[in-house]
Symmetry: C3
Subunit: 259 residues, 3 copies
Amino acid sequence: MKLFTATLATLCFSALAEADQGGGRPAPKPSPEVQEVTPQLYAYTTELLFGEVWKREQLAPRDRSLITLAALVAGGQTAQMPGHLKLGLDNGLKPSEISALITHLAFYGGWPNAMSAANVTHTVFTDRGLKAEQIIAPPSAPLTLDPERETQRKAAVEAAVGGVAPQLAEYTNEVLFGDLWRNTDLTPRDRSLITVAALTAQGQVAQLPFHLNRAMDNGLSQTQAAEVITHLAFYVGWPKAMSAVPVLKDVFEARKTQG
Amino acid sequence: MKLFTATLATLCFSALAEADQGGGRPAPKPSPEVQEVTPQLYAYTTELLFGEVWKREQLAPRDRSLITLAALVAGGQTAQMPGHLKLGLDNGLKPSEISALITHLAFYGGWPNAMSAANVTHTVFTDRGLKAEQIIAPPSAPLTLDPERETQRKAAVEAAVGGVAPQLAEYTNEVLFGDLWRNTDLTPRDRSLITVAALTAQGQVAQLPFHLNRAMDNGLSQTQAAEVITHLAFYVGWPKAMSAVPVLKDVFEARKTQG
Amino acid sequence: MKLFTATLATLCFSALAEADQGGGRPAPKPSPEVQEVTPQLYAYTTELLFGEVWKREQLAPRDRSLITLAALVAGGQTAQMPGHLKLGLDNGLKPSEISALITHLAFYGGWPNAMSAANVTHTVFTDRGLKAEQIIAPPSAPLTLDPERETQRKAAVEAAVGGVAPQLAEYTNEVLFGDLWRNTDLTPRDRSLITVAALTAQGQVAQLPFHLNRAMDNGLSQTQAAEVITHLAFYVGWPKAMSAVPVLKDVFEARKTQG
């Protein structure tokens, strides 16, 4: 990791602005306005965030796009969505998967954020000439979730929520886990990734142990989980990422003991 | 609760788009852009959120509009405000009550969010041809809060805040509770509803026990309190609603023991 | 502290709107739209927030601008930024310091918020005719942080983060503290102020003890720290300010015992 200074940064711009970092596309970079007003931030962005973090092999570019988009949607940050929607498509996300991500995050980040995201996405999809048949995943039988784990999960929801807010418990069991999580337009691992990202983006660590365990049950490795939080530190800020670290630690240790 | 699939959803649109769900007004529904990009979300919105949740009798439509607007204002979500301001007026909120809601939430969600909300509201009120005399509540003597409870509350603020940040304690006692909460342009129950919604929307559970108790002292029933959180789950996301559930549980149990 | 009523507020507007509160500039005030829709909020803003809070001598106007801008950037509230950027420049913030604030908060409030802030700032700087040489701080050797404290801090990061997310620990040590905090375009006290404000604005109290202690090591007095939270109550809402109070209490007491 190199140190950056404003002077160094200024020297680097002209070279970087023209650079093509492989794959036939210019590397993502902030607008000239950002470069002019905050040259140091521009340097961190091009050299550190896009020049190094996004290229780390611990997490695939498609996974990074999933969690970045999830953080933007859950945080209501529409201004950065067009760029990251395009990057996500370039990184291999299917339009139907982006559609499913927004729908999933209506539940995990609230309806208003999902509605705003859908409107931005419509513009990007239209610009790319995407058709409805590419956006709508083909019909498919819903997934069957592991019956034993589902029984445990339902019992936990009933115990914690059922007596206090019975309809909320029912929606949780019937709509979220009985319908949304069973939809095949995203894999369970993808759903877990964006759920973990949405929880981290909102600073909601209370549900993180459950969803981090679920993510690892769905195939996320320990190295990948750590890299998710490292990547998100840049998109949701260090404080929220740091607050997630003790949860990771506890979950990693508990799973080691169990295994 | 029916299960939704993308196929079913697509079939339902044309029928729903034209539907008039009673009361002489078409039911609220998302934009065609949302329908095109996220048909599944569109289906959840029209069938579940507006087709079922908003119609549940556990909470009146006017109460639902109050907490939805409070969540939008406290979350800074201006894009969804015009639609929900109009729905709120249709659900019986007076313009002076919406004005009072924004002023109240300047304190409970921060000045910037309130300022942005006021600007959006100005546009909606102008569109509806509302005049200043409808917006400004008629002058009225301030409410007298229960003296015994006020003495307890002041003592608690002094003990917790007075020694650390004396001016913050004074503003809390003199401005928030000495002035804002005594203003008659909203009933105490309405103020409690929007305060609980603002706390939930911001994921700030620390003050929730005090304000949930106050809400119930101000007339909110246990069933209504649970329905507030159930409704808000859709507008602030499941994680923040779920984090409020243990607080509800504790408050419900403590009040049962006391009663 | 006077009580406000809608009637009183209405009477006050015409006088206040023309008032020049010293210093040759009209006092900041909300738009006529805010006045029309929420006259009570307008009165609180002109009489209490700008008429009293901003003038309290416990914190300099430049410090108040720093923490207000930090709260706006970390909260993604672009709508209020132009006014507060201009006020900040008028209160003595240098363009290079505003640039440094945005860069600092990319790390403490996330990249998307910083990018949006940079774009707004570009417009304000252009309007004011500011040139690149005023925006970019002159090159300067990086600060040397206190070696003993740095050793302790690094050890704490290694212990808490290193074993779980080693790359996040490395970025924290090498980029945040090894580079960003050592940049001379903001004083350490200024960096601490905006970090504390960003943590408070995001409701992230977990890192507040460390950063409040650091702020006081960097020269913030106890009275100033309390006033920071009092001022922020208006900009981030009472709930988040109130959640910071117990942290202040603990830190103040721990430092008294140590001293």
